[in-house]
Amino acid sequence: MNAAEIVKATVRIAASPAEVFPYLVDPSLIVQWIGTWADLNPQPGGVFALDMGDTPARGSYISVEPPDRVVFTWGIPGNEVLPPGSSTVEILLKADGDETIVELTHRELPSEMLSTHQAGWDECVEKLRQVAGT
């Protein structure tokens, strides 16, 4: 299955991956660079909730591998294009000398998963079924 990339972004930071990693999993640290409020439970299946002003981002951690990799799902409640759990964000921290290269990839879920397995989308389809009375 091939998940399409939505956005890719990268930055170089003058610190080690171990120094950067807490900023991906600690609510008080993550809000220093994204969002205004966060509730994070950094373990597989744990909640990933972030408010960016009025816009909430909701999902859950898929993989937490200190000090160099985090993957979580991402979506916006009420947004039909990107409902919660409909996309994933992978953040890789690659050591480069004394520095860290941060590589962030935001991907769509494979369409096969969107149409059959993915909970958020299934819920949406189920709602449509109810609306349609079938």
């Binding site: 956005v7 972004a9 930055v11 294009v81 149409s115 349609a132």
Partner: protein
């Protein structure tokens, strides 16, 4: 349904052949998706044709294309600032 109309504009009847539900039910599903802004509807005589609206995904993509690079720049700033402060304290 979205996958079906992603590359082709299709009539309700054509879409309905892919689902084990009545054409009326399919029609209602399509109407919900259209109201959600995911599809466009066009009438041709008595036929109603549906197509995917790529702008809906593009809009989200544009927001994220701004969001992540800006966020990572802030991450760089806060980590490096915190590190230089810490460094200053240990001196």
């Amino acid at each position: 349904m979205l996958k079906l109309v992603r590359s082709n504009e299709l009539a309700v009847g054509q879409i309905a052949t892919h689902f084990p539900i009545t054409q009326q039910a399919v029609s209602q599903h399509l109407h919900v998706l259209e109201r959600a802004g995911l599809l466009t509807e066009r009438r041709e005589g008595t036929k109603r044709l549906y197509a995917f609206r790529p702008e809906s995904l593009d809009a989200v993509r544009n927001v994220l294309a701004d969001l992540w690079p800006e966020a990572l720049e802030r991450l760089k700033h806060v980590v490096e600032t915190a590190k230089s402060k810490k460094h200053g304290q240990t001196k």
